[in-house]
Structures are given as C-alpha cells and as structure tokens.
C-alpha cells in the first residue's frame, strides 16, 4: 500500500539567488544567498567557488542569525556617559564624519604621529594602508602583530612565502601531511576538505598539538607535544635526516643559499655575512673549476662544504657546512630532546623516518618539461610528497619565529617546497624579501599635512632599516621596527593602547580602530587595558588617550570604550574586495580574487567602512582621494574598487580588466568589472599554465606569468634563505661590530635569539618565572563554530558554545582532587581567574586549555546580563600580560617574540588551586549599557515560520 503523498516535494527554495562572499570568518568562501520575500531564506556554499567548492562551515550557515542579530549597530554614536558605560546618543552621519574629520585634520596639521590607526580583521588593508600613508601618520598596522606575524615573517624571510592562507599542501598528491599547532586557521574549509582528501587517498596525517580536538582528533598520529618546544622536535628530526643522509642535495644546491659562502672573520663587521662580488651577488665555490664564482653562474656545481680562501685572503665556508655542523650535534639527538618536548625519542625517530621514506622512496614525477631561471630545461617535476602546515601553535610563542624558520628549513632540506605533493605557494607568492618594501616611519618620512614617504610596513634588511631615532628610541607608537622587535613586519597592535596610555614613546591624540575588539578578547591583560582606556590625566581630567574613533558593526565590548562610533554594515550589505594587493584567495594552480556586494540593503543608518574612509579622505583632502580641485575621486568603495589604480593598469581587482573585460592582471579600468564579477559568482580565477605550476620560486614560465599578471614588473625568483644574513647583521650590531650598534640593554637578548640558523630557546615566560611555582601551560583554541568574539550574538552559534569550561588534564585533576564542574583558581605570574573546569584525558599532561573568546562582558552583544557567556564564560587573556615579569635590572620586555614582536599568547605558565563552587567566573566586570538604547529581544525565535506549510 503506497503512503499518500503528504509532502510538497518540489517547493521552490527562494525567489532569487545572489552569489557573494562569506565573511563569517576570513576564509572567504563563496556563498549562494537565497532571497525569499526580500528576506534571507537560506545560505549555502557556492559549488563553483574555488575556495569552498560548495561546502560551508557552521559559521557560514549561521549567517542569517548574524545578519538579523539584535546586536547590530543602527546609527553613528557619540558617547554621552563615561567610557565603558555604553551610554551614547545616535547622531547623523554628517555630524559623525564632521567630528571625525575635525579631530583628524587637527592631528594631520600639527603632528601626524598623534593619530594611531590600527585595523583588526581588516580585509581591505590595501585601502586602509593607503589611506594611512596619504594621511601621513607613521602609526598604522593591522592585527598581524598579535595574530601570526611569526609565521608570515619566518616564511617570507626563509622561502619567500608563508603557510597561513598564502600557500597550501598539494592535497591531491601528498602522501604524508604533518600539521603543527593548528585548530582552525584561516583556511577553515579548505583545510577540512584537504584533510578529508588526505585520508581518502590513504595518505598519513600527523598532527603535532598538545590538545587532541578537531583536526587532531582525526589525525592518524597525534603528537601531544609540550607547548613551546616544537623547535626542538623539528631540529631533532633534522638531526636524524642529516645523520641518515636523507636530504635532497641537488635541490639545496639549486634553490637554497646552502652553497653561498659565509665570511669567517670573527671580531670583524662582516663575520657571518655572505661574501659578495662587486655588484653584491653572493659567491659560491665552483667544484669543477675550483673557482669562486657568483651564484647562478651557468653550469656551476657549487660546493656545500669545505673551507676556502678568497683572492683578498678572507676565509669563507658554504653556509650549509655551518648548518650541518650545527644540527649534527648530539644536543639535537631525539634522546636529548625527548624530556623537554615530552615526545618519546622513538616517536621522533619514527616521524623522521616516515618523512624520509615518503620524500625519497615515494617520490612522484610529473611528466611536464619546464625551464628554470638559469634557462636550464627539466624533464619534469620531481615531487617529494611530504607536506606541512602550521599556524599559531608555533607562532604564538616568543620563540615562534625561529621555530617557524626551523620548519621551513626542514621543508627545504627534503626538497619539499612548491613541488608536487608538498606545500605549494599561492600567487602572488613566492615573493623574495627584496620584493617587499622596507618600513617607513622615521622622522624624515613624515611631516605636517603630507603623506608618509612610503609604506608603513615591510622587511628591514638589517639594523640600518629600523624605525628608530639617533639614540635608538622607537619612532612608532607600537615600537614596531625598533630594537624591541626589529622585524615586526605587521606592527604590534597589542602594544598600542599600553604605549599610548603610558605616553611611551609619546602620547597620541586620536586612536582610530576598525574591527578589533581591543577592549576585550584581542588584548592581553584585558582588565588592565580597560583601566587604561578609562584612565584620565588627573591634572586636566582628560582621558590619557583623549579621542577614540571606532568602527564596528555590532555592540561589542570595545564600542563602549570609544567616543565616536562609525557603524559598519553586515557583510551582506556592502561592497568588499578581496584583492591581489592584499590577502587574495589564490590557489597553487590559480590566481584568484573576489568581491562582496550588497545582496540585501541595510535597514539601518549604517555605512560600509571603506566608503566611510573614502569620505574622510575627501574631507581631509588626502592626495589619492581628491583631485587637484579637492573634489572626491570616488563616489564610494564600489567605484574605488573599479577605478583605483596602484600602478598603471593595476587595480584592486585582477579580473575582467580592460575596456571590454578580457584582460587579466594588467589592464585598463573596466566600468563593468563588478557586474562581471557578480555574474561570475563574485570571484575571478585565472589558471596558471602547467609548465608554470611548480617550482614557482625558480620557474621561468611562472616568473614571466607573474610579470604579465602584474605581481611584479620584473621576475622575482626566490633563493631559500636557510642561513639568514639579516639576522646575522643584527647579531653583529649586538656584538658592537657593525653600525648601527644595538643599545646595551638589547645586546644580550639579540645575541641569544637572532641566530642566523634556525634555533630553539625556552619561551621567555617559562624562562622568567619559577617553573615549580607555575608548573603548567595554559592555552586557548579556536572553536570551529565561533569566530572570536563575534558569534555570541548569533542565536544559533551561541547554543553550541554558550560558555567555556577550563579543560584540565586528568593527571592534574587527580593531583588536585578535581572533578567535572568543580571551580578553580587559575593563577599566572600576572593575575588569577576563577572558573569552572572539565576533565580531559586526550591532552598533553601539562597543558590546561579553553575555547577562545567565548567569555563576554556583561551587557555587551545585546545579550541578557545573565547570559552564560557573561556569567560563567571567561577569557584566558586576563592571565596574560603584555609585559614579561621584571628582570633583575627592573627592565620589562614586551611579551612578544624578540624578532617579530608577535604576541606570545601561548607562553602562559600557570598553577591551579581548587576554589569554592560559584555562580559566576572571575574577574567579573560592571554591566555596559546597549549603545543607542536597548534593542527589542524576542524571547522566542521562529525564523522562517511565515514560509511554513
């Protein structure tokens, strides 16, 4: 008997589908937004989109609840109550922009340094950076400094590209995938899709991570390492590989600086630098003719070891000899590092042999002739199918830069960079350090009412490029590119508020923030930062940081601490541009960028921040934003995206250029460009020809392609820098051998941490505090279904992470008599929090952890004040200080990597004490009012009920 047809099986899903780009996180997947009766019916992944191929994560699918969240700001706000009260009045855009322009114009005329403009999860850095440069302040950066600059800087300085989202494993071909310290990463969906592929193909997936959740949970092998010791683990693997001769000598010789001759002249200003010819080309020793010749001399077979003398009598050695000698030392033997890393020697040996076996015994060959930069023809691509990925587990430590360097060195040693089956670059990478600018911000670079002489951020080639004054004092408010953090390529956003409050190196007038919750989860020492923002000069009664302008889209904690709020739209209501000039969405095989466009019109008095920046540019008549008559150049951001040109023919978008949209990369402005993008699903993709797809760092066809695309104007091949001359220069300065000399205060630290060869040292906090007093590590992880602080206003996502327990390893629970639901004090050298715990076994036995950014401030995010996020939820940040404990000399270093200034979030050391049961976690903060008045909160949601049948 057939059951009666009771269901309408073919009901149309929606009236219309609008394709745009997700921004529930920075992965930037393509989405199909189904619109029904003018409302969002359903959001699904765009099947044609190269990033996500149709899949969507939890956040992406929850876009509806984000878009309709009560926490959305509704109009510009001017603070009426004291900072932190959340009391504002709604004002018009004209008034708001007038006030902002007034404040900014004053600063620009008097002293541009007094504007600190820092942007958080900014996906328009090419605009915001350009704006800041035209404004003329030296104080601009995005959030990279507290995010993962160690990864970026180490990658670019070593192989000309980083993991992050700037490269990816060759998912289809890799046979061994090794992941260090990743919970989610920016490439959220691609990573998940990739891991699935790896497992489907029967390849092996190893995860090195103190906690076995998420990706680590599905890994074939989980190495529950002790935080901060990956460098040692990697160098021990290198030790094993060298010992077993499992290295790709040919690859090293061709593509790395292994053969480059290092000057051996202790006590001189050139000791440890590369020997170079007249026009600065590094020299190598040619073994057939036994002559010293410039690198890349055709047919040369350079020596990788030995000791030679140049005509001028200087002694030189190939850098590889230094490398091999260093890592063959027994102190890097697996047995020597086992106890420090918490990883058994056998496991390390097993890992090393798996790497060796896969790289060499399972090598793959792609039959595709190609030509290298020396014009040499190769029969095909040799693939070493061992791929790596790493993120903040390595980088969020004060030894993260060197650790990341060590990992890249390992890749190069086995010949597994941009070859089939290995980690591969995504255009516009690889890009040698030489192709990056040097930082600008020294006194001579700026002045009243004039643009900054060059880009803010870049890579110093040596101490001479630092942004310091004559007596070595920092020039930027965040002390980036100073002796404190010489290669802070992304700035130090986490130091801005502290420094501005202390007036060190100088006070500022206006702090301009965008899309960063600095009064909460993106600051270390959150409670302290809040005080700094509230602190007034007793004499004048003026706030220590007099004026704060902030652009947010939601009622975040930081909104309550700003004086003027420029409310942004949601990601579905504005134009955006994911640009080749910024952080594109390219793949190893394709050049790609994308846009967002208003798929729904704002129902509030809000404006896209980028259009607001353009408006401010006009009000301040910044060059590049107004014509010679002072008239605005662009009507809005959409117009800018299409018509702005950085270099002739090169604009924010690479696709559909040229009068009739048939040009790629370089080409005249195309008025219909956005239309073409929208028709194409809001993205553009151009494939890299097969003969250019691998060995991009040395592939002639790729380099020509890159020039055609407009990444560079001349080919920019990369020689992998295993030995870093830049770091050695800083050492020479620290030794007082090479000008400029490092200040006495910094010399020892630079000597200890700037080894030109990848090195490992104990993370600073662990070295500074008494290990017995603070015996455990405390770290955080990204939850897959939450994006930092901004998922808690989302009715669907918050049900998954309504609060966050502190996960405590079983052995620690037993030692302290703790069980699920108990409350504890977690105590660091800086402070203590009181929280509820849950027991866990699948975790490194000395590592306590929690989910990041779940805890919320009472009253924020338009949540009821008794919301669990604000009651029980907590931040680890209260335990982390932006400064390290005072040293003997009373001097306090910032809690950052000494090379890059990367915030050392995961260096935290703690102890745990049982506490009496409680209702709310500590510290607890006062309630903040909902900016612009209480919103109406439905006490029940029935989204889509009107469509119910």
């Amino acid at each position: 008997m057939k059951s009666k047809p009771r269901v309408e099986l073919s009901r149309p899903v929606s009236d219309e589908v609008r394709k745009t780009t997700c921004y529930m996180c920075a992965c930037r997947c393509g989405i199909d937004v189904h619109i029904k009766d003018g409302k969002i019916r359903y959001i699904e992944g765009n099947r044609d989109h190269p990033v996500n191929r149709g899949v969507l994560c939890a956040k992406g699918s929850a876009g509806i609840m984000q878009h309709y969240a009560p926490a959305r700001l509704r109009a510009p706000l001017l603070r009426t109550g004291p900072r932190g009260s959340g009391e504002f009045k709604e004002i018009s855009w004209d008034e708001a922009l007038g006030i902002a322009a007034g404040w900014l114009a004053e600063v620009r005329a008097n002293d541009p340094r007094k504007l600190a403009f820092f942007t958080g999860r900014d996906q328009s850095q090419s605009l915001t950076g350009f704006w800041a440069q035209q404004f003329g302040t030296p104080n601009y950066a995005a959030h990279g400094g507290f995010c993962s600059v160690n990864m970026a800087a180490a990658g670019i300085m070593t192989i000309g590209g980083a993991f992050w989202e700037f490269g990816a494993p060759d998912w289809d071909r890799t046979k061994l995938f090794i992941m260090f310290g990743v919970a989610e990463d920016h490439d959220s969906n691609p990573l998940k899709m990739g891991i699935a592929k790896v497992k489907k193909n029967g390849a092996r997936f190893v995860s090195v991570n103190p906690v076995r959740t998420g990706y680590s949970a599905v890994a074939d092998n989980w190495i529950g390492i002790r935080p901060g010791t990956d460098g040692l683990l990697i160098l021990a693997v290198v030790h094993e590989l060298l010992k077993a001769r499992k290295i790709d000598v040919d690859y090293l010789m061709r593509y790395s600086n292994a053969p480059w001759l290092v000057i051996d002249a202790p006590g001189t200003s050139e000791h440890g630098l590369f020997a170079r010819d007249a026009d600065g080309k590094p020299l190598v020793f040619e073994t057939v003719t036994e002559r010293v010749v410039p690198k890349g001399t055709a047919g040369a077979r350079p020596a990788l070891s030995g000791s030679y003398t140049l005509q001028d009598g200087r002694k030189v050695t190939p850098s590889f000899e230094l490398l091999a000698t260093k890592y063959l030392d027994a102190k890097y033997a697996p047995d020597a590092v086992a106890s420090e890393t918490g990883v058994s020697a056998d496991t390390i040996r097993g890992l090393a042999s798996e790497i060796a076996r896969t790289a060499f015994d399972e090598a793959i060959f792609i039959d595709q002739p190609w030509t290298d930069m020396n014009g040499e023809r190769h029969e095909g691509y040799v693939g070493r199918p061992v791929s790596f990925h790493a993120m903040r587990g390595l980088s969020a430590h004060s030894n993260g830069f060197q650790t990341a360097r060590a990992l890249h060195m390992l890749q190069v040693l086995i010949g597994a960079v941009d070859c089939p089956g290995a980690f591969r670059f995504e255009p516009p990478y690889p890009k040698p350090v030489e192709a990056h600018p040097t930082p600008h911000g020294r006194a001579e670079h700026f002045g009243s009412n004039k643009p900054l002489a060059g880009p803010h951020l870049g890579f110093p080639r040596g101490p001479e490029d630092l942004l310091v004054d004559a007596d070595g004092k920092p020039q930027r408010i965040d002390k980036a590119f100073s002796w404190d953090a010489p290669i802070s390529a992304h700035g130090l956003m986490h130091m801005v508020i502290a420094n501005a409050h202390a007036g060190d190196p100088y006070p500022i007038d206006v702090l301009f923030l965008y899309m960063a919750n600095m009064a909460w989860n993106s600051s270390m020492n959150t409670a302290g930062v809040i005080k700094m923002l509230e602190d007034k000069d007793p004499a004048t009664g003026v706030y220590k940081i007099p004026r704060i302008i902030y652009s947010d889209a939601y009622a975040s904690e930081t909104v309550a601490y700003a004086d003027l709020i420029l409310p942004d739209t949601t990601y579905l209501e504005r134009h955006d541009c994911i640009s080749m000039l910024d952080r594109p969405i390219s793949e190893p095989d394709a050049v790609q960028d994308a846009i967002r466009w208003p798929v729904v019109e704002p129902d509030r008095d809000v404006r896209g921040f980028q259009s607001v920046m353009l408006d401010l540019g006009v009000r301040l008549s910044l060059p590049g934003f107004v014509d010679h008559r002072g008239k605005g150049l662009y009507t809005d951001y959409a117009d800018y995206i299409v018509r702005h040109e950085r270099r002739p023919g090169i604009g924010p978008l690479a696709g559909f250029r040229g009068a009739n949209g048939d040009k790629t990369g370089r080409g005249a402005v195309n008025p219909d460009q956005l239309k073409r993008y929208i028709e194409n699903g809001s993205f553009f993709s151009a494939h890299i020809p097969l003969e250019a797809q691998f060995f991009k760092h040395a592939n002639k066809d790729y380099q020509d392609f890159a020039v055609r695309m407009g990444f560079f104007d001349t080919p920019q091949p990369v020689t992998f820098q295993l030995y870093s001359e830049t770091l050695q220069k800083f050492r020479l300065s620290a030794d007082g051998l090479r000008e400029p000399f490092a200040p006495e205060t910094h010399r020892q630290r630079i000597r200890e941490t700037f080894d030109p060869l990848p090195d490992w040292y104990r993370p600073f906090e662990e070295a500074a505090v008494e290990r017995a007093k603070f015996p455990y590590h405390a770290i955080t992880q990204r939850p897959a279904a939450m994006y930092h602080s901004w998922g808690s206003m989302n009715a669907w996502l918050r049900q998954i992470h309504t609060t966050n327990p502190l996960y405590v390893p079983g052995p620690i629970c037993d030692e302290h008599g703790l069980k699920d639901g108990d409350w504890v004090y977690l105590i660091s050298s800086h402070g203590r929090i009181k929280v509820e715990i849950a027991r866990m076994e699948a975790v490194n036995s000395s590592t306590i952890w929690t989910w990041n950014a779940i805890g919320k401030r009472k009253g924020a995010w338009s949540l009821d004040t008794d919301a669990p996020e604000a009651k029980k939820g907590f931040l680890m940040n209260h335990l982390i200080n932006e400064l390290l404990p005072p040293k003997g000399d009373g001097m306090r270093w910032s809690n950052s990597d000494p090379v890059t200034g990367q915030a050392a979030w995961y260096d935290l050391r703690v102890r745990i004490e049982k506490a009496e049961a409680a209702e709310r976690s500590e510290p607890a903060f006062g309630k903040i009012a909902e900016p612009g008045g209480r919103r109406t909160h439905p006490d029940e949601l029935r989204y889509g009920q009107e469509w119910a049948k």
Partner: protein, 255 residues
C-alpha cells in the same frame, strides 16, 4: 497509518557518517537548522535566543566523546585517549518504534523510500514517539507543539526546482570534511552500501531492535609512529659531521 509498511520499502534512503574524518565542526548542525527552519513544516524555534536559557530545536546534533582504552596510557603520541566527534540525526529505522507508537498517524514511514516523517497537521504533540526513539532523534518544537525530526531533506532530494546535483540533504552538501554520505542502502551497489561494506559500517544500539538504515563508519585503526623507527638506521650512518661531509662530496660528484 502508523503501522510500518507491510512490505519492506524497495529503497532505503539514509545517511552514512564517517567517524574517521568528522572533525566536529557543527556545519551540518547549522545547515540543517537553516534549511529546515524555512522549509518542511513549522519553523525550528529557539527559546530565549539572547538570554540565559537559550535552547532550540535541532534535527541534527554533534556530540563529542572521549574514548579511553582500558588501561590505556593516557598521553603521548600513540594518544591512547582520543576524541571522537559524533553527529546524530534520525536513522530512519526499518523497525521504527517511533512510528508504531504514534496514536494519530502523524508519524509514518514512507513505503517508497523508507523515510520516516511526521505529518505535522496530524500531530497532537503527545511526545510518545520521542520517548519511543532510543536515539533522541525526535524533538518537540516548543513553539509549534508538534514533533520535529530529520526529514532526510525530503523537500530537497526530490526537488525539481533545484539542480540535480544539489538534490542531496543540506547537511551532506555542506559537510566540509566529506564525512556525511547519502544514498540508497537497499542497493548493494550504491556508493553508500559499498562504503559500508568496505569500512565495516555499524548500527547504533542494535540491541534496541530498531534496525537503523543510517550507518556509521568507525574510526580506522591507527599505527603509532614509533613503530616506524629503524628504517632510518638502515641508511649509511656515521656519527658526527666528518663522515657526513665525506658523503656529501660523494653525492656532489655523482650529481
């Protein structure tokens, strides 16, 4: 009619969930929610959405379990203790107790494909079917007072207004780790059936006698890295740098 179909359905549509790759991202949970809240039957309501007791109706939820081998050493690379993410929705059982207990005929199992559905217009919201389901796959929607459950996206899989390729459940289409598979488990040659055969797919709580259609693929066995030690030792291998550089010269000669 809440008696089960007289003769076994010719097709048994269902899901196969791969516990070996599920990373517990909850994508399927939210995708299911957003598809169904505007789709089949009443919306999936959320109570106190911005307050202390926020809670809502979900047709698919992902649990996370910790599995500890008896006497297993807890930490270390072999990682004895491990985490398994576990998505759970209606298993569209062949002997579905939820159907037979229903007093109104609202609960039924389709003869054509075995999908178990609730006809919400007939449902009195007595909750007995939820009691009868051992898996917790049925949830009363507190706003509508009717029983909600996974529909296997019956309004997608046959939907002629969407592309053929998209006629799969929302959760399956969205899963980034490809841990969810959909198909006809009555057809031994279907991809899902082959997968189940190859990976030893299992029933949940077979002892409850429900004969679930959905199957779970257990985590694959894992081989510790330490087991691979030694391979390296076979390589020519003398301590210290000197031997190494001698070898290196040799290699360079041969290049």
């Amino acid at each position: 009619m809440t008696s089960l179909p007289a003769q076994e359905p010719t097709r048994k549509l269902g899901l196969v969930i791969d516990l070996d790759v599920c990373v517990g991202c909850h994508a399927c949970v939210i995708s299911c929610k957003e598809w169904n809240t505007g789709g089949y039957g009443a919306a999936l309501s959320d109570q106190d959405p911005y307050g202390a007791d926020v809670s809502g109706t979900f047709l698919n939820r992902v649990h996370t379990f910790e599995v500890i081998p008896e006497g297993g050493e807890i930490v270390g690379e072999a990682g004895e203790a491990r985490i398994v993410h576990f998505p759970k929705s209606c298993l569209h059982c062949e002997d579905a107790p939820c159907v037979t207990v229903c007093p109104t005929g609202a609960s039924y199992k389709r003869t054509e494909d075995g999908i178990v559905l609730v006809d919400e217009d007939m449902c009195i919201g007595c909750g007995l079917c939820a009691w009868a389901c051992p898996y917790g796959a049925r949830e009363m929607d507190l706003a509508a007072g009717v029983m909600k459950k996974c529909t296997l996206c019956v309004d997608r899989i046959y939907n002629e207004t969407i592309q053929e390729i998209d006629r799969v459940p929302s959760c399956v289409r969205t899963c980034p780790a490809n841990a969810r598979h959909y198909g006809d488990l009555a057809d031994p040659q279907s991809d899902v059936s082959l997968m189940v055969a190859a990976r030893g797919g299992i029933d949940l709580m077979p002892e409850q006698g429900t004969r679930p259609v959905n199957k779970y693929l257990p985590p694959r066995p894992r081989k510790p890295l330490a087991a691979d030690t030694g391979q390296l030792l076979l390589a020519e291998n003398t301590e210290g740098a000197t031997g190494f550089f001698a070898w290196l010269d040799g290699v360079l000669e041969r290049l």
